[in-house]
Structure formats: C-alpha cells, structure tokens
Subunit: 165 residues, 2 copies
DNA sequence: GTTATTGCAAATGATTTGCACAAGG
DNA sequence: CCTTGTGCAAATCATTTGCAATAAC
C-alpha cells in the first residue's frame, strides 16, 4: 500500500471529528492492498481475511468514508453494483475502457481529452469538477486472431471481469 | 413522438420473431412522448395514464427491448437507478453534463471529443463501440450571481433533477 | 391452437439502517 | 464517562422472475 493512504485517512478522520479505529485501518489496508478495482463484496472478503469479525455493514460505511475522503472513487462498469477504483491517487484523471468481449477494464490517461472536456464544459457555462469517460470497445486482436488475450498487459490494471446477472 | 419510432420498433420486433402488442405500443409511445430523460418508475406512471392496467413488470421488460433495439439508451446519473435517454436517435453521440449544484442535466455534442476518443481507443488496440462521457460541474452563474437558473435553456434537455436517497 | 405476453405477487440482490453492545479519546 | 463505531439482522429499493390467465398470429 502506498505510504500516505493511512496518513491521509487519519487526517480526514481527525478533521471530521471522527475516531480512528481498528476496523477502518483494516478495511483501508484491504482496499489498497492491490491496484485492482473491487466491489464492496470483494473488499468484505479481503477484510475478513485480515479480521474475520469484520462486518459487511462496516465495509459499506468505511467505503463511503474513503470515497468522501477522495481516496477511492466509485465507477460504473455496467454491472449492477458499484465498483471502487483505488488508482486515482496515482493517476488523478484516468478513464476506463471496457472490453465488450471479455469485460476486461483498461485504464488510460489522455491530457488532450481532459483539456477538450474542460473547454466544452466552460463553453457551456460550467466549472468542471470531475469527468468520467467510459469507452466500450471490441478487441481488435480478437477480431483478427479469434482471441482476446491480455495483449496490452503492461497498460492493464483493474482486471475485473464484468459480471452478468 | 418522432415518426419512425413505432416503425423501427415494429421492424425490430418482427426481426426477432416477437409479437407486436398493445402494451409495447403504449409504453413506446409514453417513452418518446417527450425528449426528457426518465426512470422506469416515471415511465410506468406515464404509461399508466394511457392504460391504467399497465404493469411495472411489462414496463421493465419493454425498456429492455427498446434498449436492445437501440431506440433508448441507459445512462447513469449517479443516483441509484437507471435513467433512460430517448434522444440518441436525434443526437447519436451526445454526452451529459450534470450540474452538481442542482442536478440538472445538459446534453452536448462535440465531434472533436468523439474523434479524440476514437483515436485513444484504437491506440489501445480496440475498436470503439460506444463512448460515454459524464461531466460533473458547478454552474458559473451560481458562483457569480448566487443562483443556478436555466441559463442555457436552449441547450437543455433531459431536465431531470438528481434524486438523493 | 400454439406460443409469446402480461399482470400480479413474490423473489432477488446490492446497499442501508435500527439497535444493543463495544471501543476511542 | 460520553459519544462514536461495530456487528447483526431486518429493512429498503430498484429490478427480475414464476406462474396462471390472455392475447398474437
């Protein structure tokens, strides 16, 4: 886990007049133990490995806290549950491409895109706060070779596959 | 309602070997009676005015059909229910700006943005299928004048306010 | 006549909440 | 201590589904 997460969380907790607790530390640790996206349920399972007493309710409550502290970001992958992205501290303005073929999620950054978005927003009379781009796409390699492997593995993070109902 | 919706729906239904029914006609009519975004529940209410027998289940089932037929598009406005957008036929690649202050939704189009997104996608080795941009922003007028009126009313559609739980 | 469709009520699944007990400062 | 945090189970809320009755073709 990035040095600083725990500090930032503590600072946020202090500022809000809340209390630092074992559970919050454990859940934060679990959340930032990998750079993969996760759901509340997945985090619950990870946290349970660190402390088998952990309750789902506390995981949900701590997730809200982490989002409010801007340490975690909620993203919508099109399945019907909230996915959490722990990589915004490292890449503050990245976006997501979802492979329609296998559900794999690719994170990407593009400053031109950010800039253009900013311009459009201002032109409409608003002050940009946050932009979310989700691109759904087919894998070209799949089309050409009949497979959708991890061709761009080095650029891949957030390896979650989309779950269908 | 745009002339052509009903035709497109019928064509889609025929092609899939389904049946044209009174309920589907009514629900489609209700869905495209305005250019505003709506939720399943709101559509249910509209449809009930046309036929008080209409059931929620049929509304949900017909919504899936309309989305599959690409007549309607699902969008995520950050409340926890699916919002449906009937304006993609007219503006096939528009995006959404959500005012953080009042929840108002502004639709906008920008070909530069589309083009850039396409480039990024191809660079990553994918074939673009659909892109979704959601911009969250503050109203400049609100900041300057203390109010967030419908300043850009002519560009406004989808007038739904965000509902909080 | 078959088979798809509908309405209803019950089921589902993610997330939230009430409450009694435990822990932080 | 006094208040906030936690675990548990029950409650919520949007959406889906099973089923018997009904309507397309």
């Amino acid at each position: 886990m990035d040095i600083g997460i725990q500090e930032r969380l503590n600072e946020f907790i202090r500022r809000k007049g809340l209390r630092r607790t074992t559970q919050r530390d454990i859940i934060a640790k679990a959340a930032f133990s990998k750079d993969e996206h996760f759901t509340a349920e997945e985090l619950f399972e990870r946290a349970r490995k660190l402390d088998s007493e952990t309750s789902r309710a506390t995981v949900y409550r701590t997730l809200s806290l982490l989002v409010e502290a801007d340490l975690l970001r909620e993203i919508d992958l099109g399945d019907n549950q909230t996915t959490y992205d722990p990589n915004f501290l490292e890449k503050p303005s990245h976006n997501h491409l979802v492979c329609i073929d296998c559900g794999r999620v690719v994170e990407f950054e593009d400053s031109h895109l950010d800039l253009l978005n900013d311009c459009v927003t201002r032109r409409l009379g608003f002050k940009p706060v946050r932009q979310t781009i989700k691109i759904e796409a087919n894998c070209e390699q799949l089309r050409l070779k009949g497979r959708c492997p991890n061709l761009i593995a080095t650029r891949l993070t957030g390896k979650r596959l989309r779950r269908r109902r």
